[in-house]
């Protein structure tokens, strides 16, 4: 089993490499920027897939958790603490390296939190928020859960737009890069575009390994039992409330992690990242990829995000996602990889061409 999973990840990495070489080969190296962003968005979708597909809980507020991660990071790394330089706590933090002085674009020096502690705080903040919200919300189900998470998302979006300290409608910009090893940093520098693509793909691959392991463990089986029949799982001794809550928190944490990285990559974040439409788009990606199909979600969200970011849908962007949602849910509620749809397509193909050609519809680029 283990080797199967490693092979899947290896295939993913090879395909990711091929994608990059392809982008460069056709003379569009700038595609890497959108591919990198897509990879971070895909991380949110994969995390949501765990929640929707395995725990069977819908969240219409995942963009909110993404925004908590992104805004938390952005606020901490751009908030100039120079005025409080004399405070003992601050000096201790500076000695530990958690607060650093760095040059700002205007030639001065600012004293801000180091990106790494900021990232940790931001992700923990999102997870804590998910935990607090999750305890009562996850006791609900169906429409109530959908509306409650929608409500949480709306509140976070309202706070992002309405708070002056968070830049209101403009958001926060001037976020420094997140330093990694060997002088590489998660940031917008063109010279590091290739490296940044691999940082994103690497993060995605690591999270996929963790998630695949989780899904194939005792926890994963418990989650599938909950999805299948919550009462039955409960009767078998599965602590359903705890499993659902933990999945919700992990899922929100992944969204926040993606938010942190993408905010550093873009050098800023705006309130549109927190919008309900974003949350709905994440749900659309999971729905199309197939609930519970992590690889399907990954492939679909890479593709859809890339097309959306490149602007192929133009002003119809939201409408495209709406149409996708309806179409998939009407005709193939288990996603495009579902056996149902494959059977329908194969049957339709056979009817069109009497010669029995066993052609499979290769729907997306990750090959499974």
């Amino acid at each position: 089993m283990r080797s199967v999973r490693l092979r899947q990840v290896a295939v993913f990495l090879v395909l990711a490499g091929a994608l990059q070489l392809g982008a460069i080969a056709v003379g569009k190296p700038f595609w890497q920027t959108q591919l990198t962003m897509s990879a971070y968005y895909a991380l949110v979708a994969v995390g949501l897939s765990l929640l929707m597909g395995y725990a069977g809980q819908i969240s219409l507020g995942h963009a909110g958790f993404f925004a908590v991660g992104g805004y938390g990071s952005a606020l901490l790394t751009t908030w100039d603490l120079s005025a409080h330089k004399a405070a003992g706590v601050l000096q201790a933090l500076q000695a530990m390296g958690a607060v650093v002085a760095r040059p700002d674009p205007f030639g001065g020096t600012v004293l801000t939190v180091h990106p790494w502690p900021a990232a940790v705080v931001a992700v923990l903040l999102a997870m804590a928020a998910a935990w607090l919200v999750g305890i009562p919300v996850l006791k609900l189900s169906g429409h109530y859960l959908a509306m409650a998470t929608l409500g949480v998302g709306t509140i976070i979006a309202a706070i992002a737009v309405g708070t002056q300290a968070l830049g209101a409608a403009d958001g926060i910009s001037g976020v420094p890069p997140l330093p990694l090893l060997l002088g590489v940093g998660v940031g917008g520098a063109t010279s590091q575009r290739v490296a940044n693509y691999w940082v994103a793909i690497g993060l995605l691959a690591v999270c996929m390994i963790l998630l695949l392991n989780l899904v194939d463990s005792r926890v994963g089986r418990a989650l599938r039992a909950i999805h299948g029949a919550e009462d039955a799982a409960d009767a078998m001794g599965v602590d359903t409330a705890r499993y659902k809550l933990h999945t919700f928190v992990v899922s929100a944490g992944l969204a926040a992690l993606a938010g942190v990285f993408l905010t550093h990559f873009n050098g800023g974040i705006g309130p549109s990242e927190a919008s309900i439409m974003k949350s709905v788009k994440y749900v659309a990606m999971v729905a199309v990829g197939g609930m519970g199909s992590l690889w399907g979600t990954l492939g679909v969200s890479l593709l859809l995000n890339f097309l959306s970011l490149r602007g192929y849908f133009g002003t119809l962007d939201d409408a495209v996602f709406g149409a996708i949602l309806i179409g998939i849910m009407l005709f193939s509620p288990d996603g495009i990889m579902s056996p149902d749809l494959r059977r329908i397509l194969v049957a339709g193909w056979r009817r069109l061409r009497p010669a029995p050609a066993s052609v499979e519809k290769g729907a997306s680029e990750e090959g499974r």
Partner: protein, 293 residues
């Protein structure tokens, strides 16, 4: 707070509250008939208002409103026939996602059709500055129109469900669809009718409130959240309780403006929603479990 100011806030709250009540009732009508929460409910209000504004360019006001309501009813019927009628036993998750998709499509279609402009119908009587003095507060006649129309609507719809054959049939269908169809009721058509009714109510509310709140392509989502809050506040499925809850929410929201920045007005109603979900998921007046599918 001075008495006049208090009264002013109260009236504003009631005006918005009646709209929430009508949207919440619309939620309940569809929920009772199908067990579906129609996330596109707010779009009916938007469609009603926008269509009426467009039609008013070449029709007299009352006729424009009537036609707008009829058009929205047709849209409601189309939604049911196209997307919902032929699904057999769809899961809750599936229906949530489908109705969200529908609401996005309607919104985007409205954006293409009408653009981002904020529009409004003219005041039914007088204009923006006409006002009637009531107990020291100044009230626009449109507020009375809104209160009157919504109250009339609630009474009519309630009477329809109580006293007419068709209304009784719809209630039978809501209570037990299988039994209703065994008794020979055309349950599928009754469900379509519930969408038509719900769309018509939303559209009429959208028309009467348009002069005060104005109409834009994107107002549906906010109204849907509030309508749902109201439906839950009253206990899902209980239409008259939704009316009381709607007025309550409108008043809470209106008074929140005196304490908090206006930007957080919507957040207040969502906070109310969350608080109710956590504390009393069955609603203030209801007793049914929140986990009902």
């Amino acid at each position: 707070m001075a008495g006049e100011l208090f009264f002013q806030y109260l009236i504003a709250g009631l005006t918005y509250g009646t709209i929430y009540a009508v949207v919440g009732m619309g939620f309940n009508i569809i929920y009772n008939a199908t067990g579906i929460i129609n996330f596109a409910q707010g779009e009916f209000v938007m469609l009603g208002g926008m269509t009426a504004v467009s039609l008013h360019a070449f029709l007299p006001l009352p006729l424009a409103i009537v036609v707008a309501v009829l058009v929205t009813m047709v849209v409601g019927a189309l939604i049911e026939v196209t997307f919902i009628r032929w699904l057999s036993r769809p899961s809750v998750l599936r229906m949530i996602i489908i109705t969200i998709g529908i609401s996005i499509l309607i919104r985007e279609a409205a954006l293409l059709l009408w653009g981002q402009d904020v529009r409004a119908l003219p005041y039914f009587t007088g204009n923006e500055i006409t006002s009637i003095a009531v107990g020291g507060a100044r009230i626009s006649p449109q507020v009375l129109w809104t209160l009157g129309a919504c109250a009339g609507l609630v009474v009519l719809v309630t009477a329809f469900f109580r006293f007419t054959m068709l209304g009784r049939q719809m209630r039978a269908c809501a209570a037990n669809r299988v039994a209703a169809s065994l008794c020979g009721l055309p349950t599928r058509n009754l469900i379509t009718l519930s969408f038509v009714l719900s769309a018509g109510m939303g559209a009429l509310a959208g028309c009467v409130v348009s002069p005060i709140t104005q109409t834009q392509y994107g107002i549906g989502t906010g109204l849907a959240i509030k309508g749902f809050t109201v439906a839950i506040l009253g206990g899902l499925g209980n239409s008259l309780a939704a009316v009381a809850a709607g007025l309550l929410l409108g008043i809470i929201e209106s008074f929140s403006v005196s304490l908090l920045p206006t930007a957080f007005k919507d957040a207040v109603s969502i906070a109310v929603l969350l608080a109710i979900l956590f504390a009393r998921p069955s609603g203030l007046f209801g007793a049914r479990a929140a986990t009902r599918p």
